[in-house]
């Protein structure tokens, strides 16, 4: 049996947007914890941010089973790297390259890993933040987002991101975007995680929720004076 060309892949359990920004001390990633099954929010505690080694964090949107497979691959990569015991450790730039190779090669076989990956890290003072898509498109930037985040969060980042933000400023900016995504992305829920990587190490928060605002006067009676409208 030769290798079969598989062109009938669709995602089943999916995660929505991942956001990433550089700030003064390192990188911040954010995502919600929903695993959707079509239009059903089937799983509400899916971790879509993972630590890779000591200095890199990975976030994924798209098919969760493929993200789990990628995490396994990277764990094996990191373990093998550690076993060399040569004073060298894979940094975020190397992981980015590795992931790019994996995603692009699968795309060439018409059997993609159905994910958009956000990778962030800092090694020897050099900050890195980048993205690899399911077809192997990859780039680095000061702020990145996947899926809906590209349309809703990136414009806010372009307006309000600046060099060397403090942790508070970075978190506030991400929370602002997460809230917009919760309002406007049907696959999003009000349960989020953030990941922070600095020279000091990696922190991935426990899930948290944001305060929502429905107290706009116009929401009370939106069709006033125009019955039948919405």
């Amino acid at each position: 049996m030769g290798s079969v060309v598989r062109c009938d892949r669709y995602p089943y359990v999916t995660g929505s947007s991942v956001l990433g920004i550089k700030y003064k001390d390192g990188i911040l990633l954010a995502s919600d914890t929903a695993g959707c099954y079509g239009s059903t929010v089937r799983y509400k505690s899916v971790e879509r941010l993972k630590r890779i080694g000591d200095n890199t964090i990975l976030g994924a949107s798209g098919e969760i089973s493929d993200f789990q497979a990628i995490t396994n691959l990277l764990d094996e990569l990191i373990t093998e790297d550690w076993m060399w015991d040569d004073g060298n450790k894979l940094g975020p730039f190397e992981i980015h390259n590795y992931l790019n190779r994996v995603m692009y090669n699968r795309r060439n076989k018409f059997d993609p890993l159905w994910n958009s990956l956000v990778l962030g890290g800092i090694k020897k003072g050099k900050k890195y933040l980048g993205m690899v898509s399911m077809i192997g498109v990859h780039f680095q930037d000061n702020h990145v987002a996947t899926g809906f985040g590209n349309h809703l969060a990136r414009p806010i980042f372009r307006d309000e991101w600046k060099e060397d933000m403090t942790l508070e400023e970075g978190v506030k900016l991400l929370e602002k975007c997460l809230l917009v995504l919760f309002y406007r992305d049907r696959s999003a829920i009000n349960k989020f995680q953030m990941a922070n990587v600095t020279e000091g190490g990696i922190t991935i928060t426990e899930p948290f929720a944001l305060k929502v605002n429905w107290e706009l006067e116009a929401f009370r009676n939106p069709t006033k004076g125009a019955e039948g409208s919405w």
Binding site: Y12, V13, G35, I64, S65, Q68
Partner: protein
């Protein structure tokens, strides 16, 4: 859908199904309906969708009957060998990972939504959901199959951690019965399997043992003959 159209005579066996597994204070309880359909025809009204993988690990099967039978058979075979080599009983995590591996690596071919649940001395009672695609998620409870759509609201509201065996079993039976009430692809009896440190217990709930819901009536004498 035309019942008389020949489609159902040749359609694949599918388990429309409602399946459920919950962790309770001492272990896990698995539950399922018993209807297998080929198109609109009920091919088997008393199927057993809760299948044994090892002495202490069971699997709930939904989706294609053939696919899930083959996956269970392979995993039972692997676990059998693994237990001999290991010298002690396999863990629920191992069983679940084997099922996941088959489901993920063959995702283009399989239509299988499964729940692996059981008890081992390291993690106590564990429930692992393995939906289409081969994602593996350990959860306090998991539901699946076409009937599960009708249960999301009920489970969200009624599930609590650390229920007693009786509470948990009543919870599982009520859930499956609610799904059977609304899902045409689920029906028949409710089967439960309880797994804990002491062993395994199978139960069977049928007919008047099942709770009645909105607009359902209990059997009785014909009104004309009253």
């Amino acid at each position: 859908m035309e019942p008389m159209a020949g489609g159902w005579m040749s359609a694949a066996h599918s388990m429309g199904t409602t399946i459920l597994a919950v962790e309770y204070d001492e272990g896990v309880i698995l539950g399922a309906d018993s209807r297998t359909t080929t198109g609109v025809y009920v091919a088997n009204r008393a199927s057993d969708k809760i299948t044994q993988l090892t002495d202490n690990v069971y699997i709930c099967r939904s989706g294609s009957a053939a696919d899930t039978q083959v996956v269970s058979d392979y995993v039972r075979y692997f676990l059998n060998q693994h237990t001999i080599q290991l010298g002690k009983e396999a863990t629920v995590k191992t069983a679940a990972n084997l099922v996941k591996e088959l489901a993920y690596q063959n995702k283009s071919f399989l239509q299988a939504g499964m729940i692996v649940a059981g008890w081992d001395k390291y993690d106590g009672g564990s429930v692992y959901g393995i939906p289409l695609g081969g994602t593996l998620l350990r959860l306090p409870f998991s539901s699946g199959g076409s009937g599960s759509s009708y249960l999301y609201g009920f489970l969200d509201q009624a599930w609590r951690p650390n229920m007693s065996k009786d509470e948990a079993e009543r919870f599982v039976v009520k859930s499956i019965a609610l799904a059977i009430a609304r899902d045409g692809a689920s029906g028949g009896v409710v089967r439960t399997v309880t797994v804990n440190a002491h062993g395994v217990e199978r139960n069977f709930f049928a007919g008047d043992k099942l709770p009645l819901f909105h607009e359902e009536i209990s059997p009785g004498r014909n009104p004309l003959l009253a």
